[in-house]
Symmetry: C2
Subunit: 230 residues, 2 copies
DNA sequence: CAGTGGTCTAGACCACGGT
DNA sequence: CCGTGGTCTAGACCACTGT
């Protein structure tokens, strides 16, 4: 009557992997065998092994069975917070200032990356996020009005485009890139740092199906670090 | 006899969220009701809604039910590749050069971060990863011999500590940080860039249970970008 | 072809936590 | 207290893919 949980099966499997009872490169027993051995149903074993496979600690293929990878590619998850919440989470007081907001034809490379016709009219929004009144993050964003019907109703003087879009334009997918870039003259002026300072930069494009919603470049003041548990 | 899959339930739920059939802040029907409506079992609905909750698109609490969050905090996963594979994945030819390898007492702040007694003996390994013979990434690592029994058998002249540890010291958890740092004189010399150039930097600490395994600082040559799908 | 993981079902009990 | 999600079971069929 021991209540075997998928979590306990997962822990036991982890133990065997670390302990090399299941050696790297080797196959592990079938779900049915494990279920019999551990005294639980196959579904329970399946749930446990599936999670380990999603974390990169096992490789599963039909017919071929389940193996311990020689070079596990670990996966980690990170959150994409609203910038204001990121600031609050660091124990600082958030602030916000709209810098500019204007319709522009999309520059060539941007139009290409968004799969739009050249010179499609987009709304460019630039804003500065503050933490304890000090510059925290510069938001340089292009929004596709065709994907965001209510865009005209948005007032980016009081709410950041970052936050408004999270609430009003759910995305289905996209890509996000992290890099280090030297501060441009504009970056330096807005963030209050020196030109060429090393700035942590996030570039993100999001889509609703195949329609582009927005492209944004977030440039953080010197010293910013993005932390995640793995 | 329609084969309703958890994936199709997930898609339908996503559609209702995007469509605001389930408005932000509102509760959605119970699992049992949805199962009846969609003509599948409750377990199938559970799997679908659980995944959406893990992605940050729903909030679930016992008794309180399931809600659409007003400010969804989207989660994304990224892979932690072996550096050599990262290079190969970019279509470049990887190279590797050991710079130094020596036992040192742990510096104070490091010992503290690793929860070790000050001056605990650690192995410091510095190495350079190359892509098409050009500097790609500088690896500055401290390894705790107490957590890695076979450490003496490792030959870091032929295999990087990065890769060897992945194969020989599975970790149970840790933390990873991303930032932009100005190139130090040492960084610049090894990476062939100018001092104070903006460098993408990854800091990672890993643990086996409560025992620290390694602390590493990866400094990438200018222009590096870490890309992830969301 | 046949073995393995992937998934669905119906029913059941349990844990948490609002009321 | 009691409604809701969390999970387990036994059995079944299916989809993929290596041999």
């Amino acid at each position: 009557m021991s209540p075997i949980t998928w979590q306990s099966v997962k822990d036991e499997a982890l133990r065997r992997i670390r302990n090399r009872d299941w050696p790297p490169g080797g196959q592990i027993p079938h779900e049915a065998d494990l279920a019999a051995e551990l005294g639980c149903s196959r579904v329970t074993v399946n749930r446990a092994l599936r999670e380990l496979a999603e974390a990169g600690l096992l490789e599963r293929r039909r017919k071929a069975g389940t193996r311990v990878p020689l070079n596990p590619v670990r996966k980690a998850t990170f959150e994409i917070p609203i910038i204001r919440h990121d600031i609050e989470g660091r124990g600082l007081t958030p602030g916000y200032r709209l810098i500019s907001q204007q319709m522009h034809p999309a520059p060539g490379t941007l139009a290409q990356r968004l799969h739009l016709a050249p010179d499609t009219a987009l709304l460019q929004v630039m804003a500065l996020h503050l933490a304890n009144d000090a510059p925290f993050c510069l938001e340089d964003r292009w929004i596709n009005p065709a994907s965001v019907p209510d865009l005209a109703a948005a007032d980016f003087t009081t709410i950041s485009a970052n936050e408004w879009l999270v609430q009003n334009a759910p995305f289905s997918g996209g890509e996000i890139g992290f890099s280090a870039t030297p501060a441009t003259a504009s970056d330096a002026a807005h963030l209050g740092c020196a030109p060429n300072d090393a700035l942590f930069t996030v570039t993100r494009i999001t889509w609703a199906g195949t329609a582009p919603i927005t492209s944004v470049r977030l440039t953080y003041a010197p010293g910013y670090q993005m932390l995640t548990l793995i």
